[in-house]
């Protein structure tokens, strides 16, 4: 019998395979890529027993439809509150479920949030490129063929795919409920390219996310910032979350698909703990920056790391979301009334 596989029935343009990223090759100009919301990506993986950085599907605003081939596939969905339907029935996220062959699962963008993750128990069998399956479409690295997922693609499941049949259950992941009004930054490394009052304005005025944003950079709209001197610096390294200010003064936050180096002053850097929630902003959303010190950034990071050290608990989705006919149809009624059961 063939190995079970997840088949892409339809995929919006922003759907890619991402693992924790391609590390060790920034020095050769190779972008790290990886998930836009690493916390949601790791949560989905952990919920189906995978390593937190395993290969999973990142779904953008264009949505995704999936089917299981050659056997059932147990999946977790976490991230933005996308509208998830199983054979037309709405399901509450984040969740875990087993997708049977013949069933249709679809994810469509909901009212808020930009990125949602689908992890499969056993993850996917994909050939790593430079140690990673993370897709970087601009340079054509990772995923199945260097590009986004498209209708007809098959993702064979890895060992451990037989996690067991799982009734649709909601994941208890309160750490994914994060503020989107304030984005915390550490000032620098080139805040001295701006007058103190301009840095102050950067931190106090509202910013709006531009519709031209993508996995490489989030473009901000607001009153432009002025440089104290020049705006062309001799290129240096770019960290994930670096906020570049090009000549016209509108900041660009450097996201997962950023180039490893660049030549504009970087006024500040979004802290790691806020990168995922910032990535989940939709174009048109407004927010403010707030400066914190390194110790605060590290403490916030530790809170997230500790949340992921415990098993992800789940509660069966019962009558609130599913009709009894639907449950009978799935032959699941006997299994769903047990108490919430953490899975390894």
């Amino acid at each position: 019998m063939s190995t079970p596989a997840l088949r892409i029935v339809a995929a919006g343009p922003g759907t890619t395979i991402q693992d924790s990223g391609r590390h060790g090759y920034l020095r050769f100009g190779v972008t790290g890529a990886g998930p836009m919301d690493a916390l949601a990506h790791a949560t989905a993986n952990l919920a189906v027993g995978n390593a937190p950085g395993a290969s999973a599907i990142e779904v953008g605003l264009g949505g995704l439809s999936l089917a299981a081939d050659d056997g059932p596939v147990t999946l977790a969905i976490a991230g933005a509150p996308f509208a998830v339907t199983l054979d037309g029935q709405k399901l509450e996220t984040p969740l875990v479920l087993t997708l049977e062959p013949g069933a249709a699962l679809s994810l469509r963008a909901g009212p808020t949030g930009a990125w949602c993750y689908v992890a499969a128990a056993g993850s996917f069998v994909l050939a790593p490129v430079l140690g990673s399956t993370a897709t970087h479409t601009r340079s054509g690295l990772g995923g199945l063929d260097g590009g986004p997922l498209k209708a007809g693609d098959r993702l064979p499941l890895g060992a451990g795919a037989e996690l067991g049949h799982t009734a649709p259950s909601r994941l208890i992941a309160p750490w994914l409920e994060r503020s989107r009004d304030v984005v915390r930054v550490v000032l620098g490394p080139q805040d001295d390219y701006f007058a103190p009052e301009v840095v102050e304005r950067f931190l106090t005025q509202p910013w709006t996310l531009s519709g031209r944003s993508d996995r490489m950079g989030y473009l901000l709209e607001g009153e432009p910032l002025t440089h104290a001197g020049g705006f062309n610096i001799v290129s240096d390294g770019i960290a994930h979350g670096a906020i570049q200010v090009p000549g016209e003064g509108l900041p660009i936050v450097q996201m997962a698909d950023r180039a490893p180096t660049g030549g504009y002053p970087k006024i500040a850097t979004v802290i790691g703990a806020d990168l995922g929630s910032f990535a989940q902003l939709r174009p048109g959303a407004s927010f403010r920056f707030a400066a914190v010190d390194i110790a605060t950034a590290v403490a916030a990071r530790r809170v997230h790391a500790e949340a992921l050290e415990r098993p992800v608990e789940r509660v069966p989705l019962i009558r609130t979301e599913l009709s009894s006919e639907f449950l009978l149809g799935l032959n699941l009624v006997g299994g769903v009334v047990s108490a919430k059961a953490p899975i390894a």
Partner: protein, 252 residues
């Protein structure tokens, strides 16, 4: 330039340490394109790599600084900063002498599509553009922007007035040789660009289907050897089959 006797010699001062968030520390040796600064960046890079501190993920050498990516839950900022300062003090002014490479380059108008524009901008003849470009010795200061994108210093002064394109050009062919803003470059992966195209090399500066994936080390030097179209086609076929067609020159 005449440094006053009071000013400290730049090669003796330690790097400036700057934070790029809580996961990257920048050791900055200067703010210009200069082989002495680059040598110090590369010497620290070699020391940091050899030290292999737990929690240090990777380092990225650039023209003027070394970016050290780290996991602050494994190594704290103060410990890393102290280690980097000590390593910078102990590091030699130059860690290694770079190799010298000859990179074949076809300047035919089909590939060197901007040579006429460069000639018009600089007042040189197209032949002079090729002669000056292929007569210079370049240094690979850093990779960046895209896999195998080589930032080169050493472009002749005659090209200093060649700025960047007003509007980016649509994606260029792979393995192109370019100039802009007083710098030269080699771009492996097809991308939109603001640089001007001078020629095309059959060599791959980065290839996933060849060992080694990356040919040149940062700090290496290179020269371009003009080749005609027939030679380009022959070398292109060999390079496509995984052969290295650039030459590493013996150095005394």
């Amino acid at each position: 330039m005449s440094p006053s006797p009071e000013s400290p010699a730049p090669e003796r001062s330690g790097p400036r340490l700057l934070d790029a968030g809580e996961t990257a520390l920048v050791a900055e040796f200067g703010n210009e394109v200069d082989p002495t600064i680059s040598d110090r960046v590369l010497a620290l890079d070699a020391s940091v790599t050899a030290r292999a501190l737990p929690g240090v993920r990777e380092s990225v050498p650039t023209y003027r600084s070394l970016m050290i990516h780290y996991d602050p839950l494994v190594i704290d900022r103060a410990t890393l900063a102290a280690e980097v300062t000590a390593l910078a003090q102990a590091a030699p002014a130059q860690a290694r002498r770079g190799a010298l490479w000859t990179i074949p380059c076809c300047y035919d108008p089909e590939f060197g599509e901007d040579i006429a524009t460069i000639a018009a901008t600089t007042g040189l003849t197209p032949d002079d553009v090729v002669r000056l470009h292929s007569g210079a010795r370049y240094r690979l200061y850093m990779y960046g922007f895209a896999p195998g994108f080589c930032y080169l210093g050493g472009l002749p002064e005659a090209f200093a007035t060649v700025s960047r394109r007003l509007k980016p050009r649509p994606p260029h062919p792979p393995n192109v040789v370019m100039m802009a803003g007083g710098l030269a470059s080699i771009a492996t992966v097809s991308m939109p660009t603001g640089w001007f195209l001078v020629g095309r090399t059959p060599e791959r500066m980065f290839s996933l289907t060849r060992t080694p994936t990356v040919l040149l080390d940062v700090g290496d030097e290179l020269m371009f050897e003009p080749i005609d179209r027939a030679t380009f086609d022959a070398l292109e076929a060999r390079a496509a089959a995984g052969e290295v067609v650039a030459r590493r020159e013996p150095q005394p």
